[in-house]
Amino acid sequence: MSTTKSRNLSLTRRGLNFEMLMWFFTRLTALAMYLLVIVGVVGALIMGARTQMNIADLLRWAFMPNALHVQNSNIADIAPWATPFWKATASLFLLIAASHGLHGLLSVLDDYFVRPWQRQAFRFIVIVLLLAFSVIGVYVIWTS
C-alpha cells in the first residue's frame, strides 16, 4: 500500500482547517480541565479541607466559592478563594469549559441540522451564548 507522506502535502490538503483545529482544541481543553480540577483539589486540601470536609463539600467549596451558588447548602468560609490567583484560575476554567461545551453543542447540532442556513443560524446563536456566558461568568467570579 503506497501512501503519500503527510509532510509532502500542503497544510490544507492535510486537513489543517478551522474544524480540525477545533477538534484538537476539544481534546486539549479536556486535558486542561483535568489539570485545573487537580490544581483546585490540591489547593483546597492545602487550605484546610484535608481535616475539615468530605469530598462533596470540598468540591462545592473549591469550585463554587460563591454564596449565591446553591443557596441552601452550608458553605465554609470562602475568603481563602477570594485571591486574584484563584479568581484567575476560576475564570480560566470557566472560559475553557464554556468554549469546550458550546463547541460540543454546535457539533451535536451540526449532526442533526444539515442545511446551510440552519448551521449558520446555530453558529450565530452559539457565538452569542459563548460571549454572554463568558462575560456573565467572569463578572460573577470577580464581583461576588
Partner: protein
C-alpha cells in the same frame, strides 16, 4: 456544502455499534446535560432572587443530582479515553479494553455516589 442525511433516525438506532456506540451516545447526552446545567447555573448565580431559588430547588433535588453526577462523571471519564486514544492513535487497537476499563472506573464511583445521594435524600 449541504449534505443530505440518507439514513433515518430509526436506522441509526438499529446500527449495532456495541459498546463504542453506547459510549458515543452517552457522551453526547451527558455533554448536552452539562451545557444545560452549567448555563442555568451561571444564570442563577447572576440573577439570584426568585429565579435563583427556583433553579437551586431543582439542583438540590436528589433525582437531579443523580443525573448531574452521571453526566459529569461519565463525560469526564469517557472524554479522557477519547483524548488519550485520539492523541496516541496507536492505542486505538485497545479501544475495546479502554471501554471496559472506563466502565470499571465509572461504575464503582457512580455506585458510591448513588448510595450517598439516596442516603442523604432519605434523611440519613
Amino acid at each position: 456544502m449541504s449534505r443530505e442525511r440518507n439514513i433515518s433516525v430509526i436506522q441509526g438506532l438499529r446500527y449495532q455499534g456495541g459498546g463504542v456506540q453506547l459510549a458515543w451516545l452517552l457522551h453526547r447526552i451527558s455533554g448536552l446535560g452539562i451545557v444545560l446545567f452549567v448555563s442555568l447555573h451561571i444564570l442563577a448565580s447572576f440573577f439570584g432572587g426568585d429565579f435563583g431559588k427556583f433553579t437551586n430547588g431543582i439542583y438540590e433535588a436528589w433525582w437531579f443530582q443523580l443525573f448531574v453526577i452521571f453526566c459529569a462523571l461519565f463525560h469526564a471519564i469517557n472524554g479522557l479515553r477519547i483524548t488519550v486514544l485520539d492523541l496516541w492513535p496507536k492505542l486505538l487497537e485497545y479501544q475495546r479494553e479502554a471501554i471496559w476499563m472506563e466502565w470499571a472506573v465509572f461504575l464503582p464511583i457512580y455506585g458510591i455516589a448513588i448510595f450517598v445521594i439516596i442516603q442523604t435524600a432519605l434523611g440519613g
